[in-house]
Amino acid sequence: MASITLKDLVKTYGDVEVLHHVDGAIEDGEFIVIVGPSGCGKSTLLRMVAGLETVTSGEIRIGEKVVNQLEPADRDIAMVFQNYALYPHMSVRENMAYGLKIRKIGKAEIERRVQEAADILEIGPYLDRKPRQLSGGQRQRVAMGRAIVRNPQVFLFDEPLSNLDAKLRVQMRLEIRKLQQRLGVTSIYVTHDQVEAMTLGDRLMVLNGGYVEQFGTPIELYDRPATLFVAGFIGSPSMNFLPATAGGGALILGNGASLQGAGHASGSVTLGIRPEHLLPDENGPIRVSVQLFEQLGANTLVHGVLEGTETDVVASLPGHVSADPGTIMGFTAPAKDLHVFDPATGRRVEE
C-alpha cells in the first residue's frame, strides 16, 4: 500500500503541452477517479504514473520514492487496460501468471496466487481457456485478475468498462468498488463517464484541456463546483446556465425576473441551477416556456426556454408531468442551490 504524490507535473509532445502543472496528493488506500472529456489528458496522466509515458517535468512519488526514472515493472503497480490487453496466445492461467513468472516467483506460489485471484473474481472454471473463448465481462475479470495476482501497491484502471454493455458496466462497477475496498489498494481510475466517476471515487480529479479543474469528493464537486466546466460536467442532466446580473444580494435574469441569493457577487454573472433543484411553483420567478417532456418513469425532464429569452432550461420533476407545448411553468430554486460563476474566468464566485 502506498500514497501517490503528483507534483507540478508537465507533459509535452514536441512543442505542445498537454498537461499543465498537475498537482495532487493521493492517500494510501484511496480510490481516485480522473474524469474529463476525450483528449483532456487523463489517460496520459495515468500512463505517466504507470511509467509508460515519460515525465517532461515535475515529480511522481509512490510512497516516499520518486519514480520518474523507474521502469513500469519496478514501480510496483498493476494496470487494467481499456481493451483488456490479454495475451491472445496464452490461456487465462498463463495470462495471469506471466508477470509472476518473469519475476521468478516459485511455481507453487504462482499457482496459489492465481487460484486465489480466480476465486475472488469467480473465473476458476475458465483458467484453461484462451481469451477469445471468453465473453467481454469474463475478459475484463481476467484483466483484473492479472493485476491482483501481482499484489501491487497501486492499481491503475484505464477506462476498463467502456467496452462493456450498459448493464454489465453497472455490475462490474460495483464489483471493482467492492474489490478495491476488500484489498485496500490505492487506485487510480480513468473514465470519461461522470456517473462512473461519482459512484466509484473517494475523490474525483476533473481534468479539462490538461488543467485540473477541481479535485475533491463527489459531493463537494456536486454541491460546490469550482468552475463552470465542473458544474456542467458533473450531474445528469447537466446544470442550467442562465446569464444574470447581480447586485445587492439579488440576481436579475435575462427576462427581468429577480432571484435572491447572489452573495457578494456583482455585475454580470452566470447563474447555475441543477435541473433537480428547480421546484415547481406557480408564482415562482423562473418562468419557462415548455417545449417537450422526456418521461423517464421515476421522474420527468421538462425542456423549455426561459420565457422571453433563448436560454434553454431543463427541469427534473419527480413522477409524471405533462402539459401542452408552449405552456408557461413557474419554478423557484432555494438560495443554497444557486451557483454563481464569473463568466469571464469561469470560476465560482465565493459567497
Partner: protein
Amino acid sequence: MHKIFSLSRKEQLAVQFILIAWACVVLIPLGVAVINSFKPNLGEVYRAPLALPSEWTWSNYAEAWVGANFGGYFLNSAIVSLSVVVIVCFCASTTAFVLVRMPFRGSALLFACFMIGVIIPIRLALAPLFTIVKGLGLLDTLTGLILVQSASMMPVAVFILTAFLKSVPSELEDAARMDGALPFQIYWRVVLPLIRPALATVALLSFVQAWNEYFLPLIFLQSSELYPLTLGIAEFRAQFSVQWHLMFAGILIMLAPTVIAFLLASRQFIEGLTQGGVKE
C-alpha cells in the same frame, strides 16, 4: 453471403469461361508434365505426348533423384531456402519491431533505405556484392549464397512486417512492460505470436524466392556439388537434353516443396490469431 455485384447470366458465363480458360493455360502444361513423368520410356513421350502412360512407373523419379544427383541438389536447395527463411524471419521481425515500437534518431532514414531496397533489384548491385562476398572469403560456399539471398529478401520482409505491426495495438506490449518483460521477452513472447500471419507471408515469400532463385547461385557458386535444384536442372538439361521423361520427373521434384509451402502457409493466413486478445 452478401454480394457486392450481381452478374447477369450472360456475364456469369463470360466470367466463368475466362476463369476456366486461364486455369487450363496453367494446368495443362503441368498435367502434361505429370503424365509424361510416369512413362516408362522416352519413345512414349514422343509418340503420344498427351496420352496416358502404357504403364505407370516411379522409376523416372528414382533415376532423376539418384542417377542425375537430384537428391544432392535438393538437399542444397533445402539448406539454402530454410536458412534464408529463418534468417529473414528473425532479422526482419526484430528490425520491424524496433523501427515501429522504439523509433530513434535516424530510424526513419533506415526505413527509407529498406524501402529503396524494395524498389532497386539486388542485381544492380552485383559488382560490389561480388567484391564483398569475395573479400569475406565466402565465394563458392552455401553460407555466402544464404547471406546474399537473405539480404535480398530483407527489404520486402521489413516492409510487410512494419506495415502489419503498425496495425497491432500496442496495449499488449504495454501490458507486458507492466508485467516486467524486457524488450527481447516482449518481442519473443508477445510480438512474435501476434505477427504470425504476416510472418507466414514473409516465410512463404522468402522460401519460394530462395527455392526458385537461379541467378544468384549462378554467380556465387562454382562447384557443382553445391548446386541447388535450379542450377541442377540446367546442368541436367545440358547432359540429358532429350531425356524428357526424366526431365519432367526432375521438374516435378523441384515443384513439390513450393506447393507444400503454399498449402502450409495458407492455413496461417486464415487463422485469426489476434482475435480475442484485445477488443476491436
